[in-house]
């Protein structure tokens, strides 16, 4: 498991680790779904709904990671679907992310995470890359 839960008095603080930036985004998706929906689906029907695209003006990797996880949250809450990223193209300088992948119905309705926050955000450059983030539940 590329992530672990750290101590936090009210919500859920995660440390996510990966050997590359792209892997860090994949691991963040796995961590998010595991915490929010209770599991990361293993069966993904070949359902296309288009890629996930994010643009930020900040040009910071940690901001992109929060935006990425909040994007996953939005689709889980409003359409009850999860995303399996197959290719992730990140340009930190431009602050852009394009993720291609497959969508699958979630096994449980909605998710327990209400927001991925900027509070206590930490990113240790890698490899290994380590990202610490707090999820509001």
């Amino acid at each position: 498991m590329p992530w672990k839960e750290l101590d936090h008095p009210a919500d859920i603080r995660l440390e996510i680790e990966a050997q590359s930036v792209e892997e860090l985004f994949r691991a963040s998706a796995e961590a998010f779904y595991s915490v929010s929906a209770g599991e990361f689906p293993t069966c993904f029907p070949n359902r296309t709904r288009g890629p996930i695209q994010i643009e930020t003006s900040q040009g910071e990797l940690s901001e992109l990671l929060v935006r990425w996880m909040n994007e996953l949250l939005f689709f889980l809450e409003t359409e009850n679907i999860v995303f399996l990223p197959e290719s992730i193209d990140v340009d930190v300088q431009k602050g852009t992310l394009v993720a291609q992948g497959r969508w699958s119905p979630a096994t449980v309705r909605g998710g327990r995470v209400k927001a991925v926050t900027y509070g206590g955000l930490e990113l240790d450059p890698g490899p290994p890359w380590r990202f610490r983030v707090i999820l509001d539940v």
Partner: protein
Amino acid sequence: MSIQVERKDPVRCLIPQTAMEGMRVPGLLYADGRILSEVRDDPVLQQVTNVACLPGIAGFSFAMPDMHWGYGFPIGGVAAFSSEGGVISPGGVGYDISCGVRLHVSRLAEERVQPELNGLLDALFATIPCGVGSEGLTSLKGSRLDAVLKGGAAWAVRNGFGEKSDLERIEHGGCLEGADPDEVSGRAKERGQSQLGSLGSGNHFLEIQRVDEIFDRSLATSFGLEVGRVTVMIHCGSRGLGHQVCDDFLKTLSRSVSRYGIRIPDRQLACAPLDSAEGKAYLGAMQAAANFAMANRQAIGSRVREVFSRFFPGESLDLLYDVSHNLALMEKHSYEGKPGWFCVHRKGATRALPPGDPKLPRIYSKTGQPVIIPGSMGTASYVLAGAAGAAECFFSTCHGAGRLKSRSAALKVLDSKGVSAALEAKGILVRAGDLRTLGEEAPEAYKDVDIVVDVVERAGLSRKVARLTPLAVIKG
């Protein structure tokens, strides 16, 4: 880093302005010895000092006795920013905008309710959507959702949820007039459109309670509270809509800080000048989300009444009061001997107006504002009344017990089944929308609400009126 704390009196501690570079005011903690020992090494004290660095802050960066680590601002934090040079920050309101609590009061004795309690709880659990991913009592789209964002609880009443007389028993008459639905993003509206009339998950709940103890007979009588009578408490907020508004404006305002040359020690303290376009936009969107939250609680309260009336025909379930504990509002206060306007941020803190305050509805002008303090499952909740001493903190008080232990630590003490069994052993019935939440929200994960309330009373911020104990709980 250890933060310097000086005790001022048995229930107040000061963080001197010199504790950290950049502080514009000192920090003021409402804490007795036990509460201070619980937070002494917690990041919450750093957060109090961080807030003290924001432009235009007046008086102190306050922390109520239920303080704990939040996002940017501490939970239990109160900060007032002058209309001249001050800022507004989504971090000072929190993700669940206008999360709050209301109390309905019956004239029913516990003995009359007990034989029906199991069936009543089942009926409420079947009627009130709760838990992860729960959808609400009504679906809203387009202009209908905008009408909720503009009208708040008044919209709910116009659409069959409750009675017109409820509105004077909700803060601001159930509607913040500065709400601007156009500033609420399409994403926020999409998240909220199917959630009106739902508890949600986390620490939200619906509880059937009995009045266990009266501290002030005169005030309790005015509030319709007698020992042994049954009450219903509802704790919830603006659901995904409010969370999305917060997230949207954290992004917007994180760009504002550099534009306006504001230095912030934590990016979750992103803010904008009160008179800036971004600041005004957030204020309008945040008030719209607050209206959604007040409509949400009104819709749930109305359905609770309907279920009650099936079990107890002819019996009323009057609303005592509905208060928000995550909000920032422009308020007029006397500060340093002069009247002025301030944007008072209360994040995990409750407004508490004293007797005679002109903002009080007529029915509470002599008693002071009812303040509803929810406990945790299995422990007491309180009804307080606003008191004159709260002038020192812009008429604010605590909001609940405040968390003490992490979710994982709580689960190590008792799992969800264990919590359920422990509560039922105390005679408290439980239903949960999300079983995992039950363990994480165990009473042991929270501070002792009796001590929290004792501190705010000893500090003169509010007066104890009544203590309520749970009979049955629906946990979101």
